[in-house]
Point group: C2
Chain length 192, copies 2
């Protein structure tokens, strides 16, 4: 409480956009996107009920901004992967560390599909994933490279999704989910 929160709330928040985003991520991680309320976010940030709309236009705009940010973060971490298995592990780790982003990114009915930031960020992530797939030597990925990518993505996405939904609690147990996924990825591509 050194620099932030002056005694009397000033007219200008300072970084309301970020504050609303962060609060929204908290709420979504706890209650899902359906638990999100712009007015609640406004209260949390200590501003009037209509203030958030000025930064995000509307609820869809806020969720679209979250999805775009998520795709950017995902693209960044996938781009650093050393091979496809590592990319999968990073995908799973991303879902665990950014569950709110992850949920919103794959809920198209909540997003403004035409949005430019969203489109470019998603393209970036797709590109990073494609790079990880093409790094696999041809003999290790079967006849169709396109399908190898779909298989890897499906496995990672399914594992991450089921994990976040607590559908794998029993099977994963005390182990680190990323390590479990490493085994699954080994099943899909013989060499690794």
């Amino acid at each position: 409480m050194s620099t932030t929160k002056p005694t009397k709330s000033p007219y200008h928040h300072g970084d309301l956009r970020r504050a609303v985003l962060t609060a929204a991520l908290d709420v979504i991680a706890a209650d899902g996107p359906s638990g999100l309320s712009l007015r609640d976010l406004a209260r949390r940030a200590g501003v009037s009920h209509a203030a958030p709309a000025h930064h995000f236009k509307d609820r869809t705009g806020l969720l679209t901004a979250i999805a775009a940010e998520g795709f950017g973060l995902l693209a960044a971490t996938i781009a650093e992967a050393v091979d496809l298995k590592d990319a999968g592990v990073r995908y799973v780790r991303f879902a665990r560390e950014h569950p709110a982003h992850f949920q919103v990114m794959f809920a198209p009915e909540l997003l403004r599909e035409g949005d430019l930031e969203l489109t470019t960020a998603r393209a970036l992530a797709s590109e990073a994933l494609g790079g990880a797939v093409s790094a696999v030597p041809p003999e290790g990925r079967g006849p169709d490279a396109r399908l190898a990518g779909v298989a890897a993505w499906s496995l990672a996405h399914g594992f991450a999704t089921l994990l976040l939904g607590h559908n794998l609690d029993g099977a994963v147990g005390e182990r680190e989910p990323e390590e479990v996924f490493r085994v699954l990825a080994g099943m899909l591509f013989r060499s690794g």
Copy 2:
């Protein structure tokens, strides 16, 4: 329009529960669970705004009923699978034929987790999936049978989810999604 829809709407709808469920499935398939409104469903069924609540208690109750129905349907089709690959294909087909059920089934924050019907239906589906996994000969499923099940489920679930989100439109193209998945499943378990 032979037996249904009498000219003057009678006080008792006849099968309001089913009518609301069906309408809800339509709405969810089109706009997702967030587009669902009890009052809208009531209007579609031609009843007063509070009538649906009498059958489902509240919004959560309606969605829970849908999820339970979904798990029942899924369990039934998985139970008929001849092997694990077929079970995966049926999983994908279920997601395509019942997209609304599928979405709701795996949105835990929208459901009443304690619900008895939900719990039993989900257990039934889990049991059916376990049966399909245990039908695979030990040499074909790797060291850990539990993980083989997780791998199969993750692959099918991820593929189905990405498919419904239109994330695989380019990769799948004109092919039947079930056939594409058959190839993916072949990558995961060498023999098939």
